[in-house]
Amino acid sequence: MADVTLTVDGKKVTAPAGTLLIEACKTVGIEVPSFCYYPNLSLQGACRMCLVKIEKMPKLQTACTTVISEGMIVTSDSEEIKQARKSMLEMLLGNHPLDCPVCDAGGECELQDMTFSYGAAESKFMEAKNHKDEQQWSPVVFFDRPRCILCYRCVRVCGEGMDVWALGVQNRGVSSIIAPNKEDHLECEECGMCIDICPVGALTSGAYRYKTRPWEMKHVGTICTHCGDGCKTTLGVRRADTGMEIVRGDNRDKSGTNGDFLCIKGRYAFDFANHEERLTQPLIRKEGKLTPATWEEAFQLIGKKFAEVRDRDGGSAIGVIGSTRTTNEESYLLSKFARMVLKTNNVDHHRTADFPAFAAALRGKADATASMADVFTAPAILLIGNDPTEQHPLLAWQIRNNVRLHRSRLYVINSQAIKLRRQATNFMQIPAGAEGKVAAFLAGDDAAADAIINSSSTKDQWNSLRDTLRGEQNLVIAFGSEILGSDLSSLVTFGSAIAGAKFVCLADYANSRGAADMGLYPDLLPGYHPISGSSEFHTEWGEIPQAAGLDLSGMVEAASTNKLKALYVVGSNPIGRLKIDSFAFSNSFVVVQDMFLTETAVVADVALPAANAYEKSGTFTNTCGDLQLVKKAGEVTGTKADFEMIVRIADAMGFDVRKLVPIGGGTHADMGQSRGAQSGEADRHAVWLEAHGLEPKLSPFDPMAILDEIQRLVPGYDVSRMNLLAGNSQHTSLAKAGPGVAHRPESISPANDTLFSSGTLGHYSRALKSVMESHEVKPAEVAAD
C-alpha cells in the first residue's frame, strides 16, 4: 500500500496507508500507552489510555482505532493528555484492590507501570470498593475479579486467536465482568493465553500463583520439549536446594516463531522436572535390585561391559536406541558413538514420521520446505491428515491466524471433522486410512478417486479441488504421519508442479526431526546418507561398519534369540511407548539414561539419571526443519546431560574422546583457579564468553563443539551461527541431503498425543494430569442397589 506521511510530536513518520496511529508512533519510538489495544486482535477502544491530540479534531482521539492519514499532525504528550490519562487510571483504580505486594503480576504489571508514569496514586472516589473473592476456573486458571480492568484482551485472544470462545463479558457498564463459559468454570483448551495477555493480575496461573515474584527469577528463553512445533517458552528459574528450580513457563520472550502463542504444555508442563521421582544418582542392578552407586562405578561397569561385548561378539551384538527429546548434538554424538566406538549400526529411535522418504522426495529441490513462519504468511495451505489443534498447537495457531489476518485459503482433507475445518475454505472428509489415496489422486491417478469419495463428496468436487490447488501459488502442503513412503513421493510430485509450493512433514516430538536428521537409523548416517554408500561421514568418522543394522523390531527379535548382548537406551522408553514385551531384553546388558524409572529403565542393569532439555544447552530442529538454540534453565543436582554421559562412556571404553568431540579448536581461555578467592574463574570466564556471543569449547562436554561438526557436515545445517546464537530460528534445507532409504511403514508409530498428553513425559506432569482429570466426563451417579 502507498505510504502516508504524518507528524507526531514534531517528528516525521512515514508508514503504509491503513496503519493504525498507535503502530505508526511505535515505528519512531513514541510509546502511546494502552491496555485494550493488542496487535493482531480486533480493536476495542475500551480503555481510553491511548488518547492523543490530533489537529483539527475537536476532542482527544484514541490512537488505537485511528487510521493514519496524509498530513496528520499529532501530539502524543501534553498536559491535557496527561490529565486525561491520569483520570482514566483513577477510574480503573476505582475498584482495584491495590494489593500489588501480594499480586502475582506485581513488578510486571502494566497498570502498575502506568500508575507510576502518570502519578494517579490519589483518588477522588470515596465509595467502598466492590470486592469479590478469587475464583478457580480450571486447574490452571484463577480469576481475581476486583483486579480486572476490563480490557477484554482475554476474551479476544480466546475467541479470535484460539477459536475457543470460552470467555465472555457479562452485564453492562460498571457491573461488567469477565465470565467463563460454564457459569463457574471453564471448558477450554487450557492454553493459558488469557493469563499471559492479562495486563494486570486478574487472571493468574495455577502453576505459578503466589510462588515467587518476577524479580526473584532468572528468565531463560528456550525451546519447549513437548511437541514437534518448536515454540519458544520463557522459563523462570529460581535457586532451590536441589539446584535451579523452574517455577514458571510463559511468553515473556516473544522472539520465537510462536510470538504470543503457547499451549498448555509449553506454559505449564515443565513440572516434570521437579517431580519427586526424578533419578538423582546412578543405579546398578546388584542381586536383582537396582542399587544406588557412584558415577565412577557406573561408567566403569558400562565401559567394561560394552567393550567386552564388542570385542567378543562384535558391534552387531549391541543395540542403541536414541531419543526424540535430546538435542541435535546428543543425537549426532550418539549416532557417531554407536558407529565409531560401539562399532554397531543397530541404531534406531521412536519414529513418528517418514523423514527419509521426505528427504528422498525433496532431494535437489531448493526452497521446498516451509518454515513455521511460512505457515503464517502463505496465501494458501493444504492440510492432509493429522489434527493440528491437538497434536501441533502452534501449527494450528499459525494456520488459524493466517486465515483470520491474511485471508489465506485453507484446504483441509481429513478422515475426522477436525476443528480446523472451521477456518477451511474447503473441507473434504475421507474414509479413515485413505490419505495415501488422496496423495495418489492429487498426483494424477484418477483411479484413486473411488477410494476417497464418500457420502459427503463427489468425484466432481474432488476434480475441482485438484484444479483449484493446481492453480494456487506458494501453497504450503502440511501432512501427518498418515502419508508415508511412496504416497509421500506422489504428494511431492503433485506439489512440485505448483509454483513456490513448500512442504511440512509432521512428526510428534520436540526433536523427532533432529533425531532423523542426525541419523538415528540403522541404515542412515546424519543427513540421510545411506550407510552402505560413501559420504563425508565415511571419511571423517574413519572405519565404521558398512552393513545396515537392525531397527527396533529387529533388535527385539535379536534379543529374543540371545543375539543382542547389550542395549544402550538414551532418553527413550520403547517398552512403555511401543508395546514391547518388558522381558524382551532380559538376557541383554541394558543401560538406560532417563529422568525417571520408566517402564524401560526398571529393566535396566544400569540406570543413569539424565538431565532434560530444560537443563542443558544445544539445538533442536522442529518438525518444519527450523533449527533453534536450546538454553539451560533448570538444574537438578545429581543428574548429567546425555552428552556428558555418552562421552564418559566412550572414555571408560578407552576411546580417545577428542576423536568424538572436536574440542580445543575454539577460543582459548584461562581455566582459572580451583581454590581461593579466584575460584570458579573458569565458570565466570564461560559466562563472560557466552555474554559476548563467544563459545568456550574447552571441555569435551561442550555441545557447541559438536554443533560445529554438524554445521560442517550435515547438509542443510550450514545456517547463520550468529542468528542461531541470537535466538532466532534458522530454517534448514533438505535440498542437498543424501538419497535416503525406503522403510517399512510399520516402523513408524505416531505418538497420538492430545493437547493434554505428552508421551512418557506427560505421566510426570502434575499440570497435565490435573487438567486431564478435570476434563474427564464423570459417570452419572447410580443408586447403590
Binding site: W165, A166, L167, G168, V169, Q170, N171, R172, A179, P180, N181
Partner: protein, 181 residues
C-alpha cells in the same frame, strides 16, 4: 424445544434479513421471552444452537440488556422510570407508592405472581413525565391516584381471566358429574 408456529414463522422470516445469523439474536430473544415469559436455560441452548453461537455469547447479550431476563417475572411487569424528567415530576414517589402497595422492592415479584416491580432508566416518555410501563403499555403523567387505577385495572383484568378459567373448570366439573351420573 417447541415454540409456537407464530414464533417459527417470524424466526424463519427474520434470519435471512441479516448478513450473519448472529445478528438476529436480540429480536429472537425478545420474541422467545414474550412467548415463554423469561429466557430459560432451555431457550438459551436452543437459540444458541440455531444461531451458531455459544451459550456464553447468548448469556452475554441477555445480561447486557435490562429488558431481557433469565428469571421468571410476574404477569404484569411494572417498570417505573426515575431518570431526570420523571424524577423532577415525582417519579420517585410513584416508585415508592408502588413498592408500598405491592409490598415488593426493585425487581421483586408479588407472591401471587401477578406483579414485578422494576426501577428503570429513561423509557423515552420525558414529555409526559412521570411515566411507567406495564409490559408493553405506557402510562403517562402519573400521580399516585392514577397509578392506583392502573394497578386496579391490571388486577381486574387478572381476576376476570381467573373467573373465566374457573367457569371453564366448573363447566368441566358439571360435565364430568353429568357423565358420571
Amino acid at each position: 424445544m417447541k415454540f409456537s408456529e407464530e414464533f417459527e414463522a417470524r424466526f424463519a422470516e427474520m434470519v435471512p434479513h441479516y448478513p450473519t445469523k448472529r445478528s438476529a439474536l436480540v429480536p429472537t430473544l425478545l420474541y422467545a421471552q414474550d412467548e415463554v415469559g423469561f429466557l430459560s436455560d432451555e431457550v438459551i441452548a436452543e437459540l444458541a444452537g440455531r444461531l451458531d453461537l455459544t451459550e456464553l455469547e447468548v448469556r452475554n447479550v441477555i445480561s447486557y440488556y435490562s429488558m431481557l431476563t433469565t428469571k421468571p417475572r410476574g404477569k404484569f411487569n411494572l417498570q417505573v422510570c426515575t431518570n431526570i424528567s420523571c424524577l423532577v415530576r415525582g417519579g420517585e414517589e410513584i416508585l415508592q407508592h408502588c413498592a408500598k402497595k405491592l409490598g415488593v422492592g426493585h425487581k421483586g415479584t408479588t407472591p401471587d405472581g401477578l406483579f414485578t416491580l422494576e426501577e428503570v432508566e429513561c423509557i423515552g416518555a420525558c414529555s409526559w413525565a412521570p411515566a411507567a410501563q406495564v409490559n408493553y403499555d405506557f402510562h403517562e403523567n402519573l400521580t399516585t391516584e392514577k397509578m392506583d387505577r392502573v394497578l386496579d385495572k391490571c388486577l381486574a383484568q387478572a381476576q376476570e381471566q381467573l373467573q373465566r378459567i374457573k367457569s371453564v373448570d366448573s363447566l368441566a366439573d358439571t360435565l364430568s358429574q353429568r357423565s358420571e351420573g
